[in-house]
């Protein structure tokens, strides 16, 4: 179980995350929704340990917290560290070396499914191809929590579906997946729960079935309605 309690983050004078509290059960797939700049990526970066939140924030996975979280969370924010001449194979070799839970067989299967050329140079990949590599590397770990930040950026519709199918096929049964995206329709059939972040706060945290049955609308319609209401009168 992932537990987040009172998570806030400030950089300079700007408060980016505000008192976020969340509990996610093992095996749940959660859609992290929000407008650009709402705090989705910062939230994921805080969960992964890339930024240091406020001191009274508590983040735990299966009641473990602190440095051990890095071994339990799989997150790759980007591949900016790789030189342009590096190949996909050498980048994957780093993750194989660094993480004991990296499943090489799963990586190879995902690579083939998503048509990733292991000899391709990082500098020659398109945005969509790079996202596919990041997705495959992230999911190849047998981690307790998998964070996917905009996995569909620059990815065409057919590949998006392949990526989602791969996610469902390869995700460890007990793993928690948090996936931020603007492709709300695309993930609706896959996620168990949606959280909506606005101005650094979690304003919605509901099961997807609950939203459908109670609100009688699609996730995207619900998202637009909630965000508009919280903006107090902004017309769309």
């Amino acid at each position: 179980m992932l537990e987040v309690d009172n998570l806030s983050y400030r950089t300079g004078r700007r408060q980016i995350l505000k008192e976020m509290t969340l509990q996610v059960d093992a095996g749940e797939i959660v859609g992290v929704l929000g407008e650009n700049g709402a705090g989705k990526t910062t939230f994921m970066r805080a969960l992964a340990g890339l930024i240091q939140p406020n001191r009274d924030a508590k983040i735990s996975i299966d009641h473990q917290s602190g440095d051990v979280l890095k071994a339990l969370v799989s997150f790759i924010p980007n591949l900016n560290w790789a030189t342009k001449s590096e190949t996909v194979r050498s980048v994957a070799a780093f993750y194989q070396d660094a993480y004991a839970d990296f499943d090489t067989a799963r990586w190879e299967a995902l690579r083939k499914e998503l048509k990733i050329d292991s000899q391709a140079k990082i500098g020659k990949l398109s945005k969509g191809q790079l996202e596919r590599v990041i997705f495959a590397l992230t999911v190849s770990r047998e981690a307790s929590v998998i964070l996917l930040d905009e996995p569909f950026g620059g990815v065409d519709v057919m590949t998006r579906r392949r990526v989602l199918q791969s996610l469902l096929r390869w995700i460890p049964e007990e793993a928690i997946v948090l996936m931020s995206t603007h492709e709300i329709n695309e993930i609706e059939s896959v996620i168990d729960r949606a959280i909506v972040i606005q101005d650094g706060r979690i304003i919605v945290n509901r099961g997807i079935d609950d939203i459908r049955t109670t609100e009688q609308m699609s996730l995207e319609q619900y998202f637009v309605q909630v965000v508009t209401e919280n903006r107090e009168g902004v017309e769309l």
Partner: protein, 242 residues
């Protein structure tokens, strides 16, 4: 959590990223300079040829080494915010200490190897042309002993650069994002200001209080400890990795 040996291997590997390109660039400059030296002084032979070759080899080697040290220091400073390394499954203390020790050792080893190779080549040319050591116009006389004698200064400077570099990077990221493009200038100002303050403090301790050698070494150790703790503190409480 990952094994210590694996962490050392990954940090060492990262510290050598780009090293091959750097070596090839220096080698290309060397080949070009040697070609000119041979063309100009081949017929003169003897001392004249030795002097030309010494300059053709020595200047690229000196500039190459200085440039290498600057780039290695910059890479070390950037490593604190490198998501690939920050996300490694290890404790913060272990990462901080390994990152510092491995990178410093890599720099020391590379500089030592370069100086040995230079001296070997110089000796070979002198033997070939039957020329004495004093004919070297650059008067370069590197000895391993010199490196070890100045090891405390090398360690302190390395830690100091990392501390100020990390502080400047985090300060810019959190407080002054508009200065993002003037990072080097801000670093130089911060570096010189703190360096002058520490130098004045040490001068005061030496001249007015009169600390002995032992106390000065003890002061070096305390200063190094404070630098390491400062790096850890910034990393553990304010780090912002990408």
């Amino acid at each position: 959590m990952m094994k210590m040996s694996k962490l050392i291997k990954l940090v060492a590997k990262d510290s050598y990223v780009g090293f091959q390109t750097f070596l090839m660039t220096v080698a290309a400059v060397l080949v070009f300079a040697l070609a000119i030296a041979f063309k100009d002084s081949w017929h003169a032979g003897g001392i004249q040829l030795y002097r030309s070759l010494s300059i053709a080899i020595g200047i690229p080697v000196i500039f190459g080494m200085v440039l290498y040290v600057i780039l290695a220091y910059a890479k070390s400073v950037e490593s604190w915010q490198n998501a690939k390394l920050v996300l490694l499954p290890t404790t913060k203390w272990r990462f901080v200490l390994t990152n510092l020790v491995v990178r410093l050792l890599a720099i020391l080893v590379n500089v030592t190897v370069a100086s040995f190779v230079y001296q070997g080549v110089d000796l070979a040319i002198r033997s070939w042309l039957s020329v004495g050591k004093t004919e070297n116009p650059l008067h370069m006389d590197w000895q391993l002993g010199n490196l070890w004698e100045s090891s405390s200064a090398i360690i302190l400077v390395f830690l100091f650069v990392n501390l100020i570099g990390l502080a400047v990077n985090l300060g810019i990221a959190h407080l002054m994002p508009k200065l993002k493009h003037a990072k080097v200038l801000v670093f130089m100002i911060a570096f010189l200001t703190v360096f002058i303050a520490i130098s004045l403090g040490e001068t005061y301790l030496l001249d007015f209080i009169g600390l002995g050698d032992f106390m000065m070494h003890a002061l070096d150790v305390v200063t190094a400890g404070l630098f390491v703790y400062g790096i850890y503190w910034l990393y553990a409480h304010y780090n912002d990795a990408y």
